[in-house]
Symmetry: C2
Subunit: 138 residues, 2 copies
DNA sequence: ATTGGTGCAAAGGTTTTGCATTTAG
DNA sequence: CTAAATGCAAAACCTTTGCACCAAT
């Protein structure tokens, strides 16, 4: 455990669901000598140890500090990714059903819900000319 | 609509959930002069027109010819991806719940179920030394 | 001393871009 | 004829690898 690793871990927790490059940019301020390769190495170690979950999107891989089963609410307008935990029972249902219907033994799942978050929907009604920030999500 | 495009479309339907490179390898036999760039261009056009859905995994982007809401059963042993349609009601539940709980207007969803398919589970009990094909999935 | 982390540069792989040529409608 | 598709090469990106150096036990 080094200061660099701590800084990287901190950024993953502080930032929403950052990419490696976003973590790199953030820690660069405090550790100007650190290279991108170190960030990748550290993130990969954390993934192997089960502390982080990599989420591949079309534009980039993002890292989720929430490794428990949950859904990701992904706003197609602002790009923000929010964890949503109100679907444990649904995920359990899927597990049972996959086993019964397809003989599939479920180990893990990923559930991404794409749409418009409450904030962006509010902006739509108040100002339709509001520039919607380009979504970082594919 | 050109013969090349037809061949590419055919491959996406015939193969499970191929990557661009896999489609390229397959059409190469009948169109030896075709380049990878053409395959990418064609696949992107099909995605824009809503005929195909890109599924980003850590190792590659795969293309799904099933654009209706469904789950993907992804075997962590053999890597096969199977569409699973037995969860329409569950997806509808999620849509309603996301709207109620988080004010989130759901437009689209992606549901990936990772685990072991029936075939690979059968192999486990019969021969534990059976070489499990390396999963093409991250 | 040995293990592991860091930093740098280079390599590998995937996807996109630019442009000239060919083809379809 | 006009617009679009193709093929090729090069570029842009993201991620990994190799290796030397440094730090910690």
């Amino acid at each position: 455990m080094t200061p660099q690793r701590l800084a990287i871990a901190r950024e993953v927790l502080v930032q929403d669901h950052p990419t490696a490059a976003e973590v790199y940019e953030a820690v660069r301020d405090r550790f100007p000598t650190m290279g991108l390769a170190t960030v990748y190495a550290t993130l990969n170690v954390m993934v192997e140890r089960g502390l982080l979950r990599p989420l591949a999107f079309e534009s980039a891989v993002r890292f989720d500090a929430n490794v428990t089963p949950h859904a990701n609410l992904i706003c197609t307008a602002c790009g923000r990714i929010t964890d949503y935990d109100g679907c444990d029972d649904v995920l359990r249902t899927l597990r049972d059903r996959a086993a019964t219907d397809a003989g599939f033994e479920l180990e893990q799942q990923r559930l991404d819900l794409y749409g418009r978050c409450a904030g962006c929907m509010a902006m739509d009604v108040s100002a339709s000319d509001r520039g919607q920030s380009h979504s970082p999500i594919a």
